[in-house]
């Protein structure tokens, strides 16, 4: 699971999948790189728990959103690379739209003031 403030938040299930797909837009990557990229891009707010990463990757592969192949890592180790498929790209667009709607909706409900207050706490 992505480990932000609350480690077991059910609400964000599916967001990990979305983020994995997003990461793969820039190019094929193996599990370690994916985790690192998510952590770095979120400025280390999100920490990818490996126990969720691999099941998630396999799930995405089952659904045909990513495909995998064995290759050599930057350090010349044998590693499994994941590649975004066309279906995965569509799914990503879909998920992104949904996410934006949701974020906007929550933003509207919470109001910026409340959000700001929460942020300063």
């Amino acid at each position: 699971m992505v480990r932000p403030v609350q480690p077991d938040s059910e609400m964000l299930k599916g967001t990990l999948d979305m983020m994995i797909l997003r990461t793969l837009v820039t190019g094929d990557a193996h599990g370690h790189t994916i985790a690192k990229v998510i952590e770095h891009t979120s400025e280390d707010v999100l920490e990818v728990e490996q126990g969720s990463l691999y099941p998630a990757l396999h799930r995405l592969e089952d659904r045909g959103w990513v495909s995998s192949y064995w290759g050599a890592s930057e350090n010349n180790r044998k590693a499994k690379f994941y590649k975004l498929t066309t279906a995965g790209r569509k799914q990503l667009i879909h998920e992104t739209n949904r996410w934006k709607q949701m974020a906007r909706a929550i933003g509207l409900v919470m109001g910026e003031q409340v959000l700001a207050k929460g942020g300063t706490q």
Binding site: H30, H58, S73, R77
Partner: protein
């Protein structure tokens, strides 16, 4: 879960380990690059990764169907279904009917049509028949000279076996009785490929004039009448036929096998029947009374055998142009025994099978409807579960679990009703094929039921639409009301229309059969048959001269006439509608001074032999002339009575009486009838004693005592005919204690019995159609009820705007009517090509008349309006204020 991964879990697990090792190695490398010591780097990497085992386990589970998971799904399904017991019961009954009917009919189709015969190498067993379409002979046995001609030096056939049916009076096994038996040659049992249950069968040593009489009992007779008593072997019996009696020893009992072409009690060698040894039988080319069976030579095909037999037969026909007139078109037919036995059952069973499949389609559509309606109601629940993380696969699985529970109970109930159905249908099918007689419930049926249930369950799981991943719908889950999407409604309607279409087809088929039945039932017999009792009084020749036999029958008639309640008594040799099919003796004849068109062959008429008073007894008045009298016997002037059709044909517009006619048929000399001229003494109305719908018939009646036969009594009574049976029997037994008196039935009942297969057809198909209609009514009602409950708000608004409840009711009724109309239209569109296709394979196909079709359509439309009445009334009762508040 993916099936690929399920089957390669081990390999996939190995790859996962490699993948995770690679990950940790990368992490360690990163940590070292950050300046950690190698040990520390390794430790941190491990901590960060967490337990590799957990990952493995969770993936393993992801790729596994766990037993607990399935059980949990089933438990949840049972729990959620028991909250909707009406739905569960409706679906169980519907599926039970669909599955039960299919399982039962399939096991009958399998048992009757597909199961091999017990005969050794049954696919090599052939059955031969000849036909002569030119003289209206469709299906004829062979004569001994014919068998000799076609049976010698065949290459494709190893051996012929012959069988001829004969009625014996049997003495020595219980009460003396008249039995149906067979007389066979020594090859018969070898050709048939049958074995004895006990004792031995007949072989070539039993052939010939000098052999000792020997008989084999059929298994059915041995088991049912003799209680499988093995001591019967070696017993001596007396077999009476053709005015003499021969003795025979019982040498064995046949194994259980299909009796064909007739069900007999015993099968004897030829020496037991004097007739079969007589010159008329052995030399008479036109004396056809022998069935021929053949065994294919190894490696020979049916086609080759057919071709060879046709060649041989053609050369025989060419050798005897006097017998085989070219205009008669004599031909030989060769079929596999297996196909021959099933020839009548084939059509009816496949049609029945088609009907049961239609019923299954209806049942499945109906269940699909109910499930779909339920699923739409549960869309909210599904959406919530989906939002809580249930994947589509999980939702499908829970739907599948419900489907399995529903179909499982349906299948159980179906199998429970299939067992009695098999026995009822087997009795029905036994009218068309003797093979249905020994039909037992077999276990394939259970498998078929289970397979059908599984198909239905999977089908049901894929019927409802799952909440899509579409965000707008996903977000809309909060609204508690039922939202009916266009797609679901359309699907519901398609299923309803399917049901209506299938019901209409079934109904039209049943309608056609009912039509036939009504026409037959409406037909009146040519005389009042309800007060005429027909009694079989088999002729007992043992210890009597022919004159004594004749005297006995005259005495019996005199004594019976003296009984109170008896109006008249007469004798004959064939009971109308019962024996007449067996004694359909049509002979050619000519008449003096009769009109003859040039080049026309002799006319043919049915031969009947009756005693004086026969026409009085039936209640048919003579049109002109006098009845037979006691003086009309052998040695006196030969006389005949003819039917009106014969008179009209011979002497149109003239008086037929006192002209002479004489038989010209080659057959008559074999049955003891001379070709001498006979004076016509009377004309009677046509009495059709074969067909249910009376047709004009050419009949020539001869006196029973003048070259005629007897064996049947006709008694006209004033009161209830059956109440006289005991006194009739007693009177006859007083005269001769061992005289069998059998099958006393009124002619009206005999005639009604002929209709039984038609009546059964109509009942079975009518039953199917009514079942189908009932299920469809439930289906249509379900769809409309669902659509009404979904449109509560709309109705509320319309009512608030001033719509009358009546117009809302009309609206729903119209909905139902539209479904009905579309269904009927689809039925007509599908039905016509289907019927045309069927007519290619089924010759006697009865197509429903336009009136019947219109009637069926009307019934369907009425049914669909009736089905929409309940939901319509509910819609009309919607309270506007409440409906709007509910939202």
């Amino acid at each position: 879960m993916s099936f690929g991964r399920f089957f390669h879990r081990r390999q996939s697990d190995r790859e996962l380990l490699q993948e995770m090792d690679a990950h940790i190695a990368e992490e360690i490398a990163d940590n070292i690059a950050r300046g950690m010591s190698p040990d520390e780097a390794r430790r941190q990497a491990r901590i960060k990764f967490g337990s590799a085992e957990t990952v493995r386990e969770s993936l393993w589970q992801q790729n596994t169907l766990s037993v607990e998971g399935i059980l949990r799904d089933l438990r949840v399904a049972v729990r959620s279904l028991s909250r909707a017991p009406m739905l569960w019961i409706t679906i169980t009954i519907t599926l039970a009917l669909g599955i039960g009917a299919n399982a039962a009919i399939f096991s009958i189709v399998r048992g009757v049509l597909l199961r091999p015969l017990v005969n050794r190498d049954e696919e090599h067993l052939l059955y031969l028949r000849q036909s002569a379409p030119g003289i209206g002979v469709a299906d004829e046995t062979f004569s001994i000279p014919e068998i000799k001609d076609i049976g010698s030096n065949l290459k494709t056939i190893t051996k012929l076996g012959t069988f001829s049916q004969i009625d014996f009076t049997l003495e020595g096994l219980g009460e003396p009785r008249e039995i149906t038996a067979g007389v066979v040659d020594g090859n018969y049992f070898d050709v048939m490929g049958l074995r004895p249950a006990i004792g031995r069968l007949l072989g070539p040593n039993d052939d010939g004039q000098t052999a000792a009489g020997a008989a084999v009992l059929t298994n059915h007779f041995w088991v049912t009448s003799l209680h499988s008593d093995p001591s019967v072997i070696g017993k001596t019996i007396r077999l009476g036929s053709d005015k003499t009696t021969r003795t025979a020893t019982i040498v064995g009992v046949l194994e259980p096998s299909i009796p064909y072409p007739v069900d007999t009690e015993l099968i004897a060698n030829i020496v037991t029947s004097p007739h079969h040894l007589s010159a008329t039988m052995v030399q008479g080319r036109e004396h056809r009374m022998t069935e021929v069976f053949a065994r294919l030579a190894p490696g020979a095909t049916l086609e080759a055998a057919r071709a060879e037999l046709q060649t041989v037969y053609a050369s025989m026909v060419a050798d005897h142009p006097d017998v085989y007139k070219s205009a008669d078109h004599f031909a030989i037919g060769v079929t596999r025994m297996h196909d021959q036995i099933n020839s009548r059952a084939q059509t009816i069973l496949w049609v029945l099978f088609a009907a049961s499949i239609l019923l299954f389609v209806i049942a499945c559509s109906n269940v699909a409807n109910l499930i779909l309606a339920r699923a739409v109601r549960r869309e909210t629940e599904m959406a919530v579960r989906s939002a809580l993380g249930a994947s589509r696969a999980v939702l499908r699985r829970s739907l599948l679990a419900e489907g399995i529970v529903l179909c499982g109970t349906g299948a159980l109930a179906g199998i429970a009703i299939a067992a009695p159905m098999v026995s009822v249908l087997a009795r029905y099918a036994s009218r068309f094929s003797v093979r249905a007689l020994d039909l037992k419930l077999d276990f394939t049926m259970v498998w078929i039921g289970a397979a059908l249930a599984l198909i239905a369950a999977i089908f049901l799981a894929f019927v409802p639409r799952l909440p899509s991943l579409d965000s707008s719908r996903g977000m809309g889950l909060a609204s508690g009301g039922v939202r009916i999407t266009r797609g679901s409604t359309r699907r519901l309607r398609i299923f309803a229309v399917t049901q209506i279409t299938a019901s209409f087809l079934l109904l039209a088929g049943a309608g056609a059969l009912l039509n036939t039945l009504f026409t037959l039932e409406k037909a009146r017999p040519p005389f009042d048959a309800s007060h005429v009792l027909a009694v079989n009084l088999p002729v007992m020749y043992y210890g009597r001269t022919p004159d004594q036999v004749r005297e006995f029958y005259r005495d019996v008639q005199d004594r019976l006439r003296a009984l109170p309640g008896v109006q008249n008594v007469a004798a004959g040799f064939a009971v109308p509608w019962r024996d007449t099919n067996d004694f359909n003796i049509s002979l050619s004849f000519a008449a003096d001074g009769a009109r003859r068109e040039n080049g026309q062959d002799d006319l043919r008429a049915t031969f009947r032999s009756v005693s004086p008073g026969f026409f009085d007894t039936l209640g048919v008045p003579l049109l002109e002339g006098r009845d037979f009298r006691d003086g009309d016997k052998d040695g006196a002037e030969r006389v005949v009575i003819i039917s009106k059709s014969v008179a009209d044909q011979l002497y149109p517009g003239r008086d037929a009486v006192n002209h002479h006619l004489y038989w010209t048929d080659g057959v008559v000399k074999f049955i003891g009838i001379s070709m001498e001229p006979r004076r016509i003494i009377a004309v009677v109305p046509d009495i059709d004693d074969e067909n249910i719908i009376p047709a004009p018939v050419m009949t020539i009646y001869q006196p029973a005592d003048q070259e005629g036969w007897t064996g049947r009594l006709f008694v006209r009574t004033s009161g209830d005919p059956y109440s006289l049976v005991p006194s009739i029997t007693r009177t006859i037994h007083d005269m001769a204690s061992n005289q069998p008196v059998e099958r006393a039935t009124t002619l009206a009942d005999v005639r009604a019995a002929v209709l039984t297969p038609d009546r059964l057809n109509a009942i079975v198909f009518g039953g199917f159609a009514i079942l189908a209609l009932l299920i469809s009514i439930v289906g249509v009602a379900g769809v409309l009820a669902f659509s009404v409950s979904g449109r509560t708000r709309e109705f509320g608004i319309r009512m608030a705007l001033g719509a009358q409840p009546r117009s809302i009711l009309a609206n729903v009724l119209l909905d139902g009517l539209v479904i009905g109309i579309i269904g009927v239209a689809a039925g007509v569109l599908i039905g016509f090509p289907f019927a045309r296709l069927l007519a290619k394979y089924v010759s006697e196909l009865q197509l429903p008349s336009a009136v019947t079709l219109a009637g069926c359509a009307l019934l369907i439309l009425i049914a669909s309006i009736a089905a929409s009445a309940l939901p319509g009334m509910r819609a009309a009762r919607v309270n506007a204020a409440e409906a709007l508040r509910a939202e």
